[in-house]
């Protein structure tokens, strides 16, 4: 990683939490950026570009996540990913 590491704290507000489809959307968006992205929940730190890693977070509604990135496009990446989580992945109370 180059440059300073940036971080952004977000709270999962989707009632369904970060399930398979939202994890897929997250990873796809993260993968558009060059920077490495890590997601931290308590003591667990995972790769933001791996769906298996994201699913390991078991991020239910109300979970606080810290997104970290340090590459050239880190600021944009964090902004986009935080927005995705804050806007509930574009879901409207849909199940599964």
């Amino acid at each position: 990683m180059t440059g300073q590491k940036l971080s952004r704290t977000v709270v999962v507000t989707s009632p369904q939490g970060l399930h398979v489809r939202s994890a897929d959307l997250f990873v796809k968006m993260a993968s558009r950026y060059q920077t490495e992205i890590e997601v931290v929940k308590d003591n667990l730190r995972v790769n933001g570009k791996s769906i298996l890693d994201i699913l390991m977070l078991a991020a239910t509604e109300g979970t606080t996540l810290v997104l970290e990135a340090g590459g050239a496009d880190a600021a944009e990446a964090l902004e986009a990913l935080a927005e995705l989580i804050e806007q509930n992945f574009g879901e409207q109370n849909s199940s599964s």
Binding site: G17, H19, R21, L52, L55, M56, A58, T60
Partner: protein, 156 residues
């Protein structure tokens, strides 16, 4: 959450016969029905819901693994089964690979946390390549269960 908390032992299959996505989902749901955790009158509705969910995006999460699932009022608690397909099934996976290992999950709609904790367990265990490989090579339900039990035993 451990495998033992949600995998129905009588429903696992080391010889999934169906070769397409819908067929595999039907076969695994049938196993849950035979094991008595999915009542026959809910079977069709559950299968349709799982297929509808697949239309939103494949649950083939990579590494030859898929987690077809639905939240459905037809079950009282989270239930799941494990299926191994020898030939592999085209699941439109996120990484394009055929799927050999399936975890089919049905959870009550009001328990999203249980669903996420089951996914957490599955994804954490599957990061272990040896475990993933051995499961895909399992030749009998007993072998699958033994591997799941060992994985459960290795947890704190």
């Amino acid at each position: 959450m451990k495998f033992g908390d949600f995998v129905i032992r009588e429903a696992v299959s080391a010889s999934v016969a169906a070769e397409d996505k819908e067929g595999v989902i039907r076969e695994l749901a049938q196993m849950l029905q035979k094991a008595g955790v999915l009542i026959p009158s809910e079977y069709e509705s559950v299968v349709k819901a799982i297929l509808k969910r697949e239309e939103l995006g494949s649950t083939g999460i990579g590494r030859g693994v898929a987690v077809p699932h639905t939240k459905h009022p037809g079950v009282e608690r989270l239930v799941a089964t494990v299926g191994v397909s020898r030939s592999g099934v085209d699941f439109n996976s996120l990484d394009g690979e055929k799927v050999q290992l399936l975890f089919l999950l049905i959870s009550p709609p009001d328990r999203p946390g249980d669903h996420l904790r089951a996914l957490e367990n599955i994804s954490r265990q599957l990061r272990d390549e040896t475990f993933c490989k051995f499961l895909k090579q399992a030749k009998s339900p007993e072998e699958i269960l033994q591997l799941l039990d060992e994985a459960d035993g290795n947890q704190y």
